[in-house]
C-alpha cells in the first residue's frame, strides 16, 4: 500500500531522517495501519459534520499586549548555540 519511495518522501517532507532498518519496518507497519483505516469507508459520512473539538468554545481571544518576559535569561540558557546573547542558526538560503 505504501512504498519505500513514499516513506522516503514523507520522511524528507517531515524533516526526519530514518535509518535503513527503520525504513523497512516503516513500510510494513505504516501499510498495516493505513490498511486498517479502510474500515472507516464502511461509514456513510456524506451528511456528517466534522468535530474538531468538543468543548463548544469558540472565538476565545485576548488583547495582543506585549509584556516584558522575566525569563529571557533562562530561555537563553536552553538555546543550543548562543553568540552575543542571540540564538545562532544556520543560514536558511545557503542550503545545498
Amino acid at each position: 500500500m505504501i512504498t519505500k519511495e513514499d516513506v522516503q518522501k514523507i520522511a524528507r517532507l517531515a524533516r526526519v531522517e530514518i535509518t535503513p532498518e527503520e525504513e523497512g519496518r516503516m513500510v510494513e507497519t505504516i501499510s498495516q495501519v493505513l490498511g486498517y483505516m479502510d474500515i472507516l469507508r464502511e461509514v456513510d459520512t456524506s451528511q456528517v459534520k466534522i468535530t474538531s473539538q468538543v468543548t463548544g468554545l469558540h472565538d476565545i481571544v485576548r488583547e495582543d499586549i506585549p509584556i516584558k518576559s522575566e525569563i529571557t535569561k533562562e530561555l537563553r540558557e536552553q538555546m543550543p548555540e548562543v553568540y552575543a546573547e542571540e540564538l545562532v542558526v544556520p543560514g536558511v538560503f545557503n542550503d545545498k
Binding site: D6, I10, L13, E17, M37, L40, I50, V54, P80
Partner: protein, 475 residues
Amino acid sequence: MNLNELTLTQAMAGLKNKEFTAVDLTKSCLARIRERNPEINAFITVCEETALTEAEMADEMFAKQENKLFTGIPFAVKDAICTKGVRSTGAAKILDNYVPPFDATVIKKLRDQGAVLLGKNNCDTFGHGASNENSMYGPVRNPIDLSKVAGGSSGGSAAAVADHQCIFAIAEDTGGSIREPASFCGIVGLRPSYGRNSRYGIMPMASSLDVVGPMTKTVEDMALVMGSMAGIDEKDATTVPDAVPDYAVMLNNKVEGLRIGVPKEYFEVDGLSDEVKVRVEEKINILRSQGFTIKEVSLPYTKYAVAVYYILVPSEDSSNLARLDGIRYGKRITDGDLYNLYAMSRQAGFPEEVKRRILIGTYALSAGYYDAYYKKAQQVRTLIKQDFDKVFTEVDVLLAPTFPSTAFGVGEKINDVMAMYLSDILLVPSAIAGVPSISMPAGNSVSGLPIGLQIIGPRMKEEVVLNLANHLFKN
C-alpha cells in the same frame, strides 16, 4: 507501616497532627525510589536535594501555621509535563538537557498548595505508547510482577504510585495513558473531561484529545487532587469556564438511584480475557444487588474508534512535534546544512514510534489524502461523540473493563504495532468524545495481577464518576 505507604488523605492528616514531619515523609519516599528505581525505572530524574529543601520549608510552614492544602506532600510528575528548574525530557533524547523555565499550570497550582516535587516519571516518549517500552530511557517494569509492563504511556507514574515511591502523581492521557497503566498497576487514574484542566506546559501530543489528570492510591485522594488542579486558565484557551465543584465534599453525595449503563460492545471486544470479564461482572452484580439500575446499552460506533484515533493522533502529533527541531532548545546535531540539522537532530532525538507517528500524520494530512483520512476521521468522531450523547440520556454513567487483559510481558507486544494500537479499543472512544473516565481496581487475576474497571460519565460530570467510584472502592 512506612510513611511512603500512606494515602494522600492519611499523609495530610499525619502532617497536620504532627505525627511525623514533611522531611520524614519525603525521605521515606526518596529511600523507596533509591531502593526500587534500578529495577522498576519509574523515574527519569529524581530531585533529591530540592525535594528535601522543599520539605524543610514545608515543616517551617507548619511551625508557623502557614501550611496549605498539600504542604509537605511528596508527589511525582510525568516527564512530558514541564516543571520549573527540573529537567523535563518527555522521555526523548532530543530534550535530554531541557530544563523548563516555567511550571505547567496544573503543577504550579499543586506546588502553590505546598506539594513537594520528588522527580519526573518515565513514560513512553511524548506519550506514544501503551506499554512504556517506547521510552528512550528504558522500559518501566510493573512493581507487582517485574516481568510485566507497567502500561503506558504514564507507566512510570502508575508504577511510582503503586510501589509507594510517591504519595500521588500527575500524568497525561490522550487515549488511555493514565487509565491503562492505572489498571495494570492496581491504582486509581482519572482522565478528566477535555477542557477541565489546563494543558499549559504539557508537551502536546494530539491537542484535540490531550488531558492532564491525577494518579492516586484511593478515590478520595483523587477527588482532593482534582479539586486543586481543575479550572479555567488564560494560558490555555481550551479550558472551560464552568465552576469547579468541590469533588471531595461531593464524594459523599447519595449514589442510590444512579442508572448504570453496561455498554455491550465493550464486553464483546477481541481479546477480552475471561478473568477481566468475570471480575468486572462481579462488581456489576454487587451494584445490582444493592438496588442500582443496571441497563445494557449500545455504543454502535465503538468499532471505528481505533481507526479514528490513529488518524487524529498522528496527524496532530506530526504537527505538534514540528517544534522540536534542534533550533531554539533541546539537543542540536549540526551536520552540514539546515536540512541536515533538522533531520539529524530529529533522527537522534526521537525513538522509532515517534518517527512512525510523524510519518503517518504527515501522510494523512498531505494534499490528496486529507479528505480520505483526517476529515473522514473527524466526521466519524462526530458519530462516536453522538453515541455518548445519546447513551447519557438513558443512563448516568457507564461501567466497563478498562483494558481487555491484565499487564502483558515486557517485550511481548513491542513488535506488533497494530496489535498494540488495537488494544486501546476500550479507552479511545471516551477520549474521542472528551468525556471523563476513571480507572480503579476491580480485584486481581489468579496470577495476582491487577484488573481495572472504568466508570465513564457525561462531559464535566467528574463528581458523578468519582462518587460511584468511591462507593465501589470502599466496598
